[in-house]
Assembly symmetry: C2
Homo-oligomer: 334 residues x 2
């Protein structure tokens, strides 16, 4: 049988409310008692369940949001959706920027725990075992947004990345393009790397364009890296007429490179992005792209987290929202 | 004489540590005592000074950052500078997005207070009296970043906005432009409206181009609004050869409009932005702009707040960092 707060109190020879205080505001408990309680918690491997947490801990009506890179405009729309949903539900958001650093991410989880957030939304990065373990250790309700976990059973809101990429490439093929390349995230990025690459491969195979399968270069998440990847791609395959890029920022990198080489977009090369960030319609030319419903992903993630906090379970574990192809000015028929 | 925590304890007939607990973790104090303490605090108008706060409250090693619009790419660089400085000093950041809503801003101040942040950085918006009053009421150390206050005595880190605008316009004049317009923020925006407009006026007057003073249209902070303002400007003054815009996002709005009218930038019209957001060098054409040292503004704001928290005063109250003109591809000689 799992130990309860009563067992901890008994072993530490203190009252139940003292145990609660040790967990909630340890500075109000004298050290000798505090240490006895902590020892008992460790000895019994006591972990309050979600229900007990609700009784023991005060609700803070605050949700923690962990994003990997505040400079990436992708998160702007996501955060707006989260914020609007949070305000509707009477919650505030605390946003932290992990920089994809493991150390920083773990520190921030501890921080958010100390700040007694009622739950965490972990956005758009890979849920490494270390992250999962510590969030689970602290029993913080967790929802994934724009990402999902294959290893762990965590509620998530995302799109079908493979299908999105497939739709983008099929559109290029339907415009008559036969020499198509791709700027991809690293393949080992299981969130936006592998699935979008697979979508590209699926589309070209389906239309008998297997020779395009080698026309792929890789970049990390940044414009500068995409610019270089475009340079590599076009120096190897100068007669490409179209490129599918795994993000809008990559599309901008490709278009900037082509512009500097005086190659006209879309007249000579068509470019399709992915995401539909705010900048996509501000760019010259406006980007044709796969629109992720980022605002809705943010909104649904908050609602799902709220469901998890208040009902301790969610109806729909893995939620896949629809993307759509938005045709603007960076693509045209061959 | 100002009342102390001892006076509160005496009046409420409780111990000093109970008063401290009421302020720190009220849920650990029985209601009757808690109410007596709160009454005494109100009656005596007790406000712990910064030093007492340090003794009474635990330090959280967390700073709150309030920004007006998470979708505005200007904040990305600012936040990165803040984060790097915070990490160096052993602090974490909690970012909240106020949406320029008074109600939301005040709720967030209360929230950050409850989360026991050690200080707040208020970025890039006008410090309305309501905001100042509540932050002061809670005795939270405060620093302004990318903004400043004329009414209140609050440490700030900013640039010289008037001089920045002046430098941009002088550059256009030196390129030979004589028909120059401006896309401005509303004049009543005392942070980036009035000073940048004044810089424009100063430069054109200095060069005897007074007739340009009417060539101004206004937009709020968004691209869409700048696009419309560009439309107004060029329909009234179709023979302008240059535009100074009060932000890079405005420059993108103007360039998008001109591009759709088949007016070439920079061949027919030169455009200078302001800010040097990350997108400025990703745009087509790359933007000539006034570079704000946003990363450094963020860094310095955190360091100043740290100084204020640890030493209870700052050496340099009003810090003005240098901007610089960055010449790229959106401008050329007439």
């Amino acid at each position: 049988m799992k130990p309860t707060i009563r067992d901890v109190a008994k072993m530490a020879n203190v009252s139940i409310s003292t145990v609660s205080r040790v967990m909630n505001s340890p500075e109000t408990v004298v050290e000798s008692k505090r240490l006895r309680v902590l020892e008992a918690i460790e000895h019994l491997q006591y972990q309050p369940n979600a229900f007990a947490r609700g009784l023991i801990y005060k609700r803070s009506n605050t949700l923690g949001v962990m994003i990997p890179d505040v400079e990436n405009p992708y998160y702007a729309g996501l955060l707006r959706g989260m914020q609007d949903a949070a305000v509707d539900l009477g919650y505030s958001l605390m946003i932290v920027n992990t920089d994809r650093s493991k150390e920083r991410t773990i520190t921030y989880v501890e921080n958010l725990y100390e700040k007694q957030v009622d739950g965490i939304i972990f956005a758009s990065d890979i849920l490494h075992p270390e992250y999962y373990d510590i969030i689970r250790h602290y029993q913080i309700p967790l929802v994934l947004a724009s990402t999902n976990s294959i290893e762990y059973d965590v509620p998530s809101v995302n799109i079908d990345n493979e299908k999105g990429a497939y739709d983008a490439v099929r559109y290029l093929i339907e415009l008559g393009h036969r020499k198509i390349g791709m700027l991809s995230f690293p393949y080992d990025d299981s969130i936006s790397g592998e699935p979008r690459y697979n979508g590209f491969i699926k589309a070209i195979k389906e239309y008998g364009l297997e020779e395009c399968a080698t026309h792929v270069t890789y970049a990390d998440h940044r414009f500068e890296s995409a610019y270089k990847a475009a340079e590599q791609l076009f120096s190897k395959y100068p007669d490409l007429t179209a490129v599918f890029t795994a993000s809008d920022e990559f599309a901008m990198g490709a278009i900037s490179f082509l512009h500097e080489k005086n190659i006209l977009v879309p007249d000579q090369v068509s470019v399709v992005g992915f995401d539909d960030i705010r900048m996509a319609h501000m760019y010259v030319p406006k980007l044709t792209t796969i629109a992720q419903p980022v605002y809705e992903i943010g909104q649904h993630a908050v609602k799902k987290l709220y469901e998890l906090i208040t009902e301790e379970k969610v109806q729909l574990y893995t939620e896949i929202l629809s993307h759509k192809l938005v045709i603007r000015n960076s693509t045209q028929e061959v």
